[in-house]
């Protein structure tokens, strides 16, 4: 099961991949903020920009396709709810179609009374906007190594005195290690339950009651051994976390992008 822990980073020798993680992070945040307020030029720039970045980064287009498939049920739900307008169900909207009209036309007219064209256009724009936000973030994750992003997050957190950067880095690594181990533990518990014919019981809460406490007990045993191992190896936190400086030209580029997107809202 832990094999499914493949990272979502897609390695490619491209200039987009070589950009500093902070540059990409702030650029994506700027685009997302710009998309929060709907405006035609912003949609166009964000869509064209996304296509340009995907091509420049040599990412496979099916990466975007897979993402769209994953989000499809949610987006369809948003579209239907947004486009559905009970106000359109009044008597005027349900006037009978001309006698020569076909059944298809009648059906369309009936549907149109529930989904008025302006509401459908508004719903389509909302779905497009959401899709752009999601796809920009997916591209960002695909072109940024987790280690680089972790450094960027540490750089962001470093000014906060109550958040120890080194401890966060160690905890992130430990959590990931535990995640893989616990997935294997979960699989082991599931097989043990199956061997005892526990999977034949239809009540899902019975499954929860037998699985989760067993998982916790295994996890607690791991806690103790890991803590002792860390202490035995002399774990210390007073060593500084080294994060490379943010290149000035890239920081300037992000500021220009943010200013450009803000200007698009004005015109």
């Amino acid at each position: 099961m832990a094999r499914r822990l493949a990272l979502h980073y897609v390695p490619r020798p491209s200039p987009v991949h070589r950009l500093d993680a902070r540059t990409k992070l702030f650029a994506v945040l700027a685009v997302t903020c710009a998309l929060l307020r709907p405006a035609g030029p912003v949609f166009a720039v964000a869509t064209l920009g996304l296509s340009g970045v995907v091509m420049a980064a040599r990412l496979p287009w099916n990466l975007l396709g897979r993402t769209v498939r994953g989000w499809l049920p949610f987006l369809v739900g948003i579209f239907v709810v947004q486009a559905f307008s009970p106000a359109g169900m009044g008597p005027a909207d349900l006037s009978p179609a001309p006698s020569t009209a076909s059944a298809v036309q009648e059906g369309l007219a009936f549907l149109g009374s529930f989904f008025p064209p302006d509401a459908v256009v508004r719903a389509l724009l909302t779905v497009w906007r959401l899709l752009l936000m999601v796809l920009w973030a997916v591209v960002f994750t695909a072109v940024t190594r987790p280690r680089d992003l972790q450094d960027a997050v540490l750089w962001l957190l470093r000014p906060l005195p109550f958040l120890p950067a080194r401890r966060i880095a160690v905890m992130a690594a430990l959590s990931l290690r535990f995640f893989a181990l616990l997935l294997d533990d979960l699989e082991e518990i599931r097989l043990a339950r199956k061997a005892r014919l526990g999977d034949r019981r239809r009540n899902p809460f019975h499954g929860l009651r037998t699985t989760v406490p067993a998982l916790f007990r295994k996890a607690l045993a791991r806690t103790e051994s890991t803590a002792l191992a860390l202490a035995a190896r002399g774990y210390r936190e007073d060593l500084p976390a080294r994060v490379p400086p943010w290149p000035l030209n890239q920081a300037t580029g992000v500021c220009l992008l943010a200013a450009f997107l803000a200007a698009l809202h004005l015109f």
């Binding site: 997916v138 994750t141 987790p146 430990l174 995640f179 406490p213 607690l220 803590a227």
Partner: protein, 181 residues
């Protein structure tokens, strides 16, 4: 660094990992399988207290943000934090904190039940306005999409979190007397 601090740090990591595992456990109830993320979010607060519970959830969000597949169905990445569901995820930190703050000073059954109710409400209090802001829907439609369909499932998960907390707490006390004190 003292062993007790290391132990507590490891326990927070473990709760983060358990939340990530919980996001992959699908319970077949209704047309859409229910994942157990919320259950572990509330359990983190009930078992670890407000500070460590919130820290575990903050770490969970950090791992998800950097693209590690810790969210439901082995997904990860910024899309989940910046997209329409981002508010619910950010609400996990507040939910865990409030669940811990209500239940931890004096763990008893009434406090645990109140803690999970308030924790669940915090998730909606952050998630629903976020969903409304991102999608631009009306309040009625946002509630219809982002809250009402999940209320029954979340109530079941909150009840399960309370029952699991009662059964796991003795084991936690045996392993980590200082954490659970």
């Amino acid at each position: 660094m003292p062993l007790e601090s290391i132990r507590q740090m490891v326990l927070v990591c473990l709760m983060t990992a358990l939340t990530a595992v919980g996001a992959q456990i699908a319970v077949p109830i209704g047309p859409v399988p229910m994942v157990l993320t919320n259950l572990f979010v509330l359990l983190a607060g009930l078992l670890l207290g407000p500070r460590r519970g919130a820290a575990a959830m903050g770490l969970y969000l950090l791992l998800g943000a950097v693209g590690l597949p810790v969210f439901a169905n082995f997904k990860g990445g910024f899309a989940h934090l910046l997209g329409p569901t981002g508010g619910y995820l950010l609400g996990f930190v507040g939910a865990s904190w409030i669940a811990g703050a209500v239940s931890h000073p004096k763990p008893n059954r009434f406090a645990d039940i109140l803690a999970v109710i308030l924790g669940t409400l915090v998730i909606y209090a952050v998630g629903v306005p976020w969903l409304k802001a991102v999608t631009g829907m009306t309040w009625a439609k946002t509630l219809a999409v982002g809250m009402l369909p999940f209320l029954a499932g979340d109530a079941a998960k909150a009840a399960a979190a309370v029952m699991l907390a009662w059964s796991i707490r003795p084991a936690l006390v045996r392993h980590m007397p200082v954490v659970s004190a």
